[in-house]
């Protein structure tokens, strides 16, 4: 009934937005909202008469759902870290209070990211006469989740604009981009405004602005500590808190448990590639073990699995490396590129002790190399085909 009523309203306001109508220039925008409200009534015209019920909206929405546990925990952790920093033990023990504190601080980041990003996406779709692609619904949520809580809003806006325009639209939009746009946004902030996304001040809400903080308080992430004083950090290693995620860090990256819940959703629904995910973890672990074997410095001797728990490794492996557009496209390529991502991330961290951006740089680097890896996989397939042909002609 509601459906019928809504449909009538949509049908009534639709005509001016049709191509050629008075508001025809807003066709893509209208279409985006209409298809959001109603799955379209388009029928198959050529090819298979019946189609799988899944579309990109559904696929993308599954990723958003998978991000929710990490996001909710990130909000809670924002409050927790803040109250711990100011020494308010009672407030830090109040789970809902912590979450609400974080929610209020994280929401503006998400809003800015969506408004700026979707605004640009709509404008480009309009200009090109395309339907608006849903990809940004994920990117727009990923960007705030990989930022420190204290990042200025305007900076998020600039980073989003950079990522969407230079990272995606210049290549032709979603599906055509070379680099993961969310990571590009982070890289942009990292290189353009380094102090706002590194060091030990930005990871806990309010520290950059000064205020009442406990003596001896350090807002450094475990990874930063590892770089500054590896033996101390390792001596006080609290692996459990790394797994749960009650440590300073980017908003969404800290809780390995929440991320793994997301991973389970992505893998079960078949949205993300298990080949990529598994091989990233394997790559990190193997590289860590390799350094263990060499040994020498505290960081090299650190248990290899620590790498998988710290910093953005898990988050990157589950949500970034699996981006189907920027990952390798062949199955063999996926395994190779995934493995390299994990290995290079650990390599960067260990060789440049504690350098926290290992995962980001490693994924972006392998995004660039993925087409090359694919090229060789494809060449092998072609060679198999032509080789058999040659054998035949000799006979």
């Amino acid at each position: 009934m509601i459906s019928k009523l809504l449909r009538d309203i949509v049908d009534r306001v639709k005509p001016p937005f049709e191509p050629g109508g008075k508001l025809g220039f807003l066709h893509s925008t209208f279409d985006a909202f209409e298809t959001f409200l109603f799955a379209p009534n388009t029928v198959t015209k050529k090819g298979a008469h019946i189609r799988d019920a899944v579309d990109l909206k559904r696929t993308v929405f599954m990723v958003v759902i998978a991000l929710v546990p990490a996001l909710l925990f990130g909000m809670y952790n924002t409050g927790l870290q803040h109250f711990r920093a100011i020494g308010d033990v009672a407030a830090a023990a109040d789970v809902l209070g912590c979450w609400w504190y974080g929610f209020v601080r994280v929401l503006p980041l998400i809003l800015v990211s969506y408004i700026v990003g979707l605004g640009i996406e709509f404008a480009f779709a309009q200009k090109r006469g395309h339907e608006v692609n849903e990809g940004y619904l994920v990117t727009g949520l990923l960007i705030p989740m990989i930022m420190p809580i204290d990042v200025p809003l305007w900076m998020v806006a600039v980073a989003v604009a950079f990522a969407v325009i230079i990272g995606k639209e210049v290549f032709g939009g979603t599906g055509m981009n070379i680099f993961n746009p969310a990571l590009l946004a982070r890289a942009f902030v990292f290189f353009a405004y380094t102090p706002f996304i590194s060091g030990d001040k930005v990871w806990v809400r309010g520290v950059t602005k000064g205020g009442e903080y406990l003596d001896g308080f350090s807002g450094a992430t475990p990874l930063t500590q590892l770089g500054e004083n590896a033996s101390d950090m390792l001596a006080g290693a609290d692996v459990w808190s790394w797994i749960v995620g009650t440590i300073p860090g980017s908003i969404g990256e800290t809780s390995v448990i929440a991320i793994l819940i997301g991973a389970a959703i992505l893998l079960y629904t078949g949205v993300a590639s298990w080949r990529v995910m598994l091989s990233v973890f394997a790559g990190g672990l193997v590289m860590g073990l390799l350094f263990n074997a060499i040994g020498g410095t505290p960081v090299m001797d650190m248990p290899a699995y620590y790498h998988l728990l710290l910093g953005g490794f898990a988050f990157g492996a589950v949500f970034m490396a699996t981006d189907p557009v920027t990952a390798a496209q062949t199955n063999v390529g996926k395994v190779i590129v995934g493995f390299m991502i994990g290995a290079i991330a650990v390599l960067i961290r260990v060789v440049n002790p504690g350098y926290p951006e290992g995962m980001m740089l490693s994924i972006l680097f392998m995004n660039a190399l993925a087409p090359l890896v694919d090229h060789f996989v494809v060449a092998a397939n072609v060679r198999r085909r032509t080789k058999v042909a040659k054998v035949k002609t000799v006979k």
């Binding site: 509601i2 459906s3 809504l6 449909r7 298809t35 959001f36 409200l37 109603f38 799955a39 379209p40 009534n41 388009t42 029928v43 198959t44 050529k46 090819g47 298979a48 008469h49 019946i50 189609r51 799988d52 019920a53 899944v54 579309d55 990109l56 909206k57 559904r58 696929t59 929405f61 599954m62 339907e131 692609n133 849903e134 990809g135 032709g172 939009g173 979603t174 599906g175 055509m176 079960y268 629904t269 078949g270 949205v271 590639s273 189907p324 557009v325 990952a327 496209q329 062949t330 199955n331 996989v377 494809v378 397939n381 072609v382 085909r385 032509t386 058999v388 042909a389 035949k392 002609t393």
Partner: protein
């Protein structure tokens, strides 16, 4: 028994309306046609005029590019209509049957002494040559070419497809004769693909090289079977014949008469009583697809009649004719309806290979799938998915991209010779970006033919 070839990749779509094992005789209908659009790449030229009297086997048309290839009337009667479409494109030559079932009589050659030319000549003059399809490209075979092998698939794995062992149960002699005929046309082998674990009349066709396949659709596609038995490489020519047409060819050489009788099924989720019909090839759709056997649709909606299966068939109206190569009619509901917040609804009744719909709880469920596209066209985003549904040593996404880009060298290198659109129909089905994979492959093939001939 040779070893079983097991295919892991593919998908059986659980579509409602599988045909029940019941055959209705519908051979008494009076309107038949030969429809040139059934034959890709043929430039049809008329040999008859309205009012001409013909017999089964009388030539109605020929191909301007290969003049010895003729298309014959399936029944005896009178040419009553030449249907044309836009730009006078020839759509159908309609023959009204006189009900006498007369055929041109052909002299039956002795199979022991008959030459390749004798056999080919008889197939050509009886209008049965178009049953022989050549690979690469899936066009009517060139009578002058010598194929390295001939392949027949003995089962159809498409949704709601007919059971060939059931359909052909009385045709053993004709099938065996058909194989003998094909053997005359090639120096290589005649291969017959069978479904592992089934027993029927086709298992007894022992003069062909039998291969057993296990696995989901498209295991029954002859292209997939070729890829696993003797893949097509550059320069190879392979022929294929539909298994019902094999029986019809055998019948010609057993009786000397053109008898296009075959059994097709009418199936799919929108059919009241899915079952089999005995018809004569080229029959008008409405002669056996009764409105009373199509489920009623709500006002303003309609049903779609497909000649062929739901993945690869062509839309027909009841006034049109069953396709020359079709063994089934599928009826689907048109999906021209909106769905409130469809992208987030739990979707218990939605079939999807992804587990993004709650329907994964009941994996055995049969679905009433309509023709809704379920989304809009997008750039290709999800990778690694098509590979799961193409059981050949081919990288489907790269091949499709090469076709879209019109890159001849890449198409060749990536395997365009091995596939027809039907072999990649499941990619159409599963792709969340709704990429028209079959269309891309068809365009790639057209380009190959244009550039390399």
């Amino acid at each position: 028994m040779s070893k079983i070839i097991k295919l892991n990749r593919g998908l059986d779509i659980h579509l409602q309306g599988e045909p029940a094992a019941k055959i209705i005789d519908a051979t008494g209908s009076d309107t038949f046609a030969v429809s040139p659009p059934d034959f890709d790449g043929v430039v049809p030229k008329l040999l008859v005029r309205e009012g001409d009297v013909v017999k089964a086997g009388s030539p109605l048309l020929f191909d301007k590019n290969r003049q010895q290839v003729i298309f014959a009337s399936p029944v005896s009667g009178t040419v009553t209509e030449i249907r044309r479409g836009e730009k006078r494109k020839l759509l159908s030559v309609v023959v009204t049957s006189d009900g006498r079932g007369e055929s041109l009589e052909f002299k039956i050659p002795s199979m022991a002494s008959a030459s390749r030319e004798d056999v080919a000549g008889m197939l050509l003059s009886a209008g049965m040559w178009p049953m022989i399809i050549q690979r690469p490209y899936g066009r009517i075979a060139d009578p002058a070419a010598k194929p390295k092998a001939i392949f027949v698939s003995g089962f159809d794995s498409a949704p709601c497809a007919p059971d060939m062992n059931f359909v052909l149960s009385g045709e053993l002699d004709n099938l065996r004769k058909g194989v003998e005929v094909l053997k005359k046309l090639t120096d290589g082998k005649v291969h017959l693909g069978l479904r592992a674990g089934t027993e029927g009349v086709l298992n007894r066709v022992d003069n062909a090289e039998q291969h057993f396949f296990k696995g989901p659709h498209p295991a029954g596609n002859v292209g997939v079977q070729i890829a696993h038995v003797d893949p097509i490489r550059k320069g190879d020519v392979v022929w294929t014949v539909d298994v019902q047409n094999l029986a019809i060819i055998g019948r010609l050489f057993n009786t000397g008469r053109v008898d296009m009788t075959k059994i097709v099924c009418m199936s799919g989720p929108h059919v009241v009583r899915p079952q089999y019909y005995k018809i004569i090839g080229g029959a008008q759709v409405k002669s056996f697809v009764m409105n009373s056997n199509i489920k009623p649709v709500a006002e303003g909606h309609s049903a779609r009649i497909v000649s062929g299966n739901a993945l690869t068939g062509g839309i027909v109206s009841r006034e049109e004719f069953i396709g020359f190569y079709s063994n089934q009619i599928t009826v689907l509901a048109e999906g021209d309806h909106y769905e409130l917040l469809g992208w987030i609804a739990p979707g218990l009744d939605k079939m999807s290979v992804s587990k993004t719909f709650m329907s994964w709880i009941c994996p055995r469920k049969k679905y009433n799938i309509d023709t809704n596209l379920h989304g809009g066209h997008r750039a290709i985003v999800v990778t690694g998915l098509w590979e799961k549904y193409v059981p050949m040593d081919i990288l489907p996404m790269y091949l499709v991209k090469a076709c879209m880009a019109g890159n001849i060298d890449k198409m060749e290198a990536l395997g365009i010779y091995e596939v027809l659109p039907e072999d990649m129909a499941l990619c159409d089905f599963v792709d969340p970006s709704k990429t028209e994979v079959q269309e891309a492959i068809a365009q790639g093939i057209n380009l190959m033919i244009k550039e390399l001939s």
